[in-house]
Symmetry: C2
Subunit: 328 residues, 2 copies
């Protein structure tokens, strides 16, 4: 044995990615489509085959510290059962932990993907330089994920379902959401929301079938007023959502990641100025003025790890667990 | 020495209450008006005189475990400095901990009043029977306080300013709030908000100078439609605020206390039915159906301790601290 490694998996609604991690780096990675149309048993087989393949390559010389599977939520923990996951249609009530452990014949760590992204940003991204041990992360992707780390540990809540700020209401009676409610943060700050809002704002954009959030961001950067109005709405909705998170949690760091955070320069200025109007806790704590010298500043930053955050968090988790247990 | 006692103080914007606590009960209590017009030094003197008076009565036979002062927030901790507290006008930047400790010549525990109410409900109120160690409390009074206890400990956040859910936005561009924002939960669910909304709904009520929230509650109970509409708005705003708290924190217990919770029977049915529409985490976790047998149910209940919660929490805190330190 010449060292320790971990295996992490990011099970997404579109892609399935697996990686082996050693000495602070991802050493080998596998990417597959998530074949939802073949059924969940088939997806679990693909996933376990990828894990086994990575382990075969590393096993001769290294000891496996642990295997983490990151899954979209809501995921009931510790049972490991999916509950009406919007991005894995038909998987409601599926015992994901049991299915994977039966196939692999060994225990796994199972975690919500946004929680893993939050952990990765804390340990290896935007939290790394500051030495902080608490943060709140929002991942703006197809949906809006949310992970909260308090004092170095993911906050799971009673049933593993904490961190669903994407379904906080920012616009009462607003756009209908897949969760069954209306006006959720996700309906104004996800990539799909940007496309929907762009089509609402402009009849020209409405006719573009293949319009993506990146297209809208590029148009906004080029000065298109309708596209800019969409990102003003993104910034404002994020400011309303962050106001609640900041006033309730008073954490030192809020990280905005996921694909839509590539448009950070477009929506962040509006978001910051709205936030300064909306949250008095942010106003009090965002500058050094008016607070004592021991006070911690509240920072809102863009995630540093891009779309690797979830996979990296999956790889890191077994190491943080074994450190907690006193193993290397 | 025949035992241990604690002293708790509830410093409110209107009343100052102090109590000595021993063997699980409040033994002696002092209530004074908070003489804000005499200046903060004078209020601190009144407060310390009350503490000394209680200690003189108990000192001969008992050992003091600790003194807790509960104060309105935002309160920067551990520094103990008030930050623009809406209910203590002119106290911004006041070093409350230093002022009290200099007067008493001994260390105190200083805590946000809503956090103390949350602790009291957990240890001696609605959380007592369930053996839970986490909850979120909203106190509906002149303003709306919020306290969060996670795994038995008050969640303070970075600067002691966590638990300001009263200033989460439930109605974007809604009623202006003392915190500088608009549409805060407090503007729809506090006693003063009920009076304001009643006057907005009805020209007859608008002319009643001395109208109180209790008056509006009584009218609603007697079938007045305008008063009932006000409490529908209260229930709906609480449901929006609770949706965010439940989806983000996934705690087992949410307690609604404070004076306005006397109108529980009037607003709770609407609140519960709105909540079931707004929060999918509540829907998943509020019934035993569809979750595994190990799942914890989410409960929303009325506080059991009434307006004593804050004072009792102040009395209890020194005992929980000394238990944590291994002292009786």
């Amino acid at each position: 044995m010449s060292g320790f490694y971990s295996v992490g998996v990011d099970l997404g609604g579109t892609n399935l990615r697996a990686a082996a991690y050693r000495d602070g780096e991802i050493r080998e990675a596998i990417a597959l489509p998530t074949r939802l149309d073949h059924g969940r048993d088939s997806v679990v087989r693909d996933l376990c085959d990828a894990v086994r393949s990575l382990m075969r390559d590393f096993a001769p010389d290294h000891e496996c510290v642990g295997i983490t599977i990151g899954s979209p939520g809501p995921l009931e923990l510790p049972a490991g059962i999916l509950r009406s996951p919007p991005n894995l249609p038909g998987w409601d009530g599926f015992g994901l932990r049991d299915a994977i452990e039966s196939n692999l014949h060994q225990p796994i760590l199972l975690e919500n993907d946004a929680n893993l992204a939050a952990l990765a940003e804390l340990r290896a991204g935007s939290g790394l330089h500051s030495g902080l041990d608490s943060l709140c992360m929002l991942t703006l992707g197809t949906g809006v994920g949310n992970g909260i780390v308090l004092n170095g540990e993911v906050w799971h809540g009673s049933n593993g379902m904490a961190g669903e700020a994407g379904h906080a209401i920012v616009e009462p009676d607003g756009a209908p959401c897949g969760c069954g409610s209306r006006g959720c943060l996700e309906q104004y700050t996800s990539a799909s929301a940007v496309v929907r809002m762009a089509k609402e704002h402009s009849s020209r954009l409405r006719s573009m079938d293949s319009l993506t959030a990146s297209d809208v961001a590029r148009m906004a950067a080029q000065g298109n007023l309708e596209a800019q109005a969409v990102f003003e709405q993104v910034g404002r909705a994020l400011a309303i959502g962050l106001t609640s998170l900041i006033n309730v949690l008073n954490l030192p760091l809020y990280v905005i990641g996921g694909g839509l955070s590539n448009a950070w320069d477009i929506f962040a200025p509006g978001m910051m100025s709205d936030l300064a109007r909306f949250s008095y806790i942010y106003r009090i704590t965002s500058t050094g003025n008016g607070t004592s010298q021991t006070a911690t500043r509240t920072q809102i930053v863009r995630g540093e790890l891009g779309d690797k955050a979830g996979l990296l968090g999956a790889c890191l988790l077994p190491f943080t667990r074994s450190v907690a247990r006193g193993t290397p």
